[in-house]
Amino acid sequence: MLTKRIIPCLDIKNGRTVKGVNFVNLRDAGDPVELAKAYAQKGADELVFLDISATEERRKTLTKLVLDVAAQVNIPFTVGGGISSIEDVDILLKCGADKVSINSSAVKRPDLINELSGKFGNQCIVVAIDAKQVNDHWKVHLVGGKVPTELDLFEWAKEVEERGAGEILFTSMDNDGTKDGFANEALSKLSSELNIPIIASGGAGNMQHFVDTFKKGKADAALAASVFHFKEIEINDLKQELRNHDIPVRL
């Protein structure tokens, strides 16, 4: 049976992990490769690296990071942040990334999704969507939720699927950082309206939130950062808890 995936997300700036990361037994907790290896050993199903650097060196630094991760980590990983062209994707996949995630660049030029899935196959194209509720309507936002658009979440998600995305990473900006749980109502609607996998993101605070997002939100995977980085939740414990609730996991 296909299992539900648990995905730690690492924010990367200039080749280093940002946000304090509280890992013992790591020589260097700022080293994304060390962290990735540790997560793989702890039972993470996949990893997401989100590059937030804004320097001219970024492509070179990110390419090197992807090569290092691919050389040392034996689970799949996705790379996102600032990807806007076929050339960007080509080099990341060639260096060993399994999937790439695009966000703003897809909103600005939706044809990019068709071009990427046509060239590389839809299995490696993740479209990330950040949204929050405005007057009871889920609206897509850009720049980490700062810039609203006119796009309706569900319409955009449908269009993204039709254009060839293999997967959607949905972050609720209303839930992100609250530790109050995922946006399960919206997730469940996405999951039933679409026929591609949905990754839930934003709001993880405790293990019950993951149970809920798989049961009520019908998510295929759940992504979180701080609860894992600060060891508030151990992946192994989380998976045991999910299994106790009859949710299929790799354990």
């Binding site: 539900k4 040392q72 034996n74 799949p76 060993g96 990334a97 590389f120 196959g121 299995q123 293999g166």
Partner: protein
């Protein structure tokens, strides 16, 4: 041991090269017929779309070479699918090594299937030391139904072949290079054949 990964422009071959490195071996990436012929082990990878991958094989004459190879050959993901008779994707004629067609998931499940699924009914030296119901990582929209050459079965709303074997040819739908310790064990078994 000479290990060659067939490099015909399809997919993520770097990851396979790295996985073999982690096992303590070096693999050569090559599309050269003589180089491939002289290998002890051949890995036939593939990610992407079937008909364009097949075109690349034909363009380099590898479609003729691969079915004639005598050493152990391991097809991975699309590589496995192309080793079958026919792929529904892009209406593609396959290499005809495995006697089955490859068809699209079309029974109310999410497509592509992405993630870790269990393999069972394991029936090959390829799975030596790998437990029944072990988890492997998959990303695919098309599948080979269960057939005579099936050596591992998975369930995604229906039972399908997650691995095939015929003579010196092996094919796995999952990505051993991304399937943690179990995947490394499988690659190790293949290299030990």
């Amino acid at each position: 041991m000479k290990i060659v990964i067939i490099d015909y422009g399809a997919g993520n071959i770097q990851s396979i090269k790295f996985a073999i490195q982690r096992l303590g071996f070096e693999a050569i990436l090559s599309s050269d017929v003589e180089e491939i012929k002289s290998a002890d082990k051949v890995i036939f990878p593939g990610v992407g779309e079937a008909s364009s991958a097949m075109k690349m094989l034909v363009a380099s004459g590898l479609n003729v070479l691969i079915p004639e190879l005598k050493q152990p050959v391991l097809g991975i993901c699309l590589g496995m699918q192309l080793m079958c008779n026919y792929c529904e994707e892009g209406d593609t004629q396959g290499l005809g090594i495995f006697n089955t067609d490859v068809v699209r998931f079309n029974h109310g499940v999410k497509v592509p299937q992405i993630g870790w699924n269990q393999i069972s009914e394991l029936n090959s030296a390829l799975f030596e030391g790998i437990d029944e119901n072990e988890y492997m990582y998959l990303v695919h929209s098309y599948y080979a139904p269960v057939c005579k050459e099936t050596i591992a079965v998975s369930d995604y709303g229906l039972a399908y072949s997650n691995a095939l074997e015929k003579d010196n040819f092996y094919g796995v739908q999952f990505h051993p290079e991304k399937s943690s310790i179990a995947g490394e064990k499988l690659l190790q078994n293949f290299l030990a054949l």
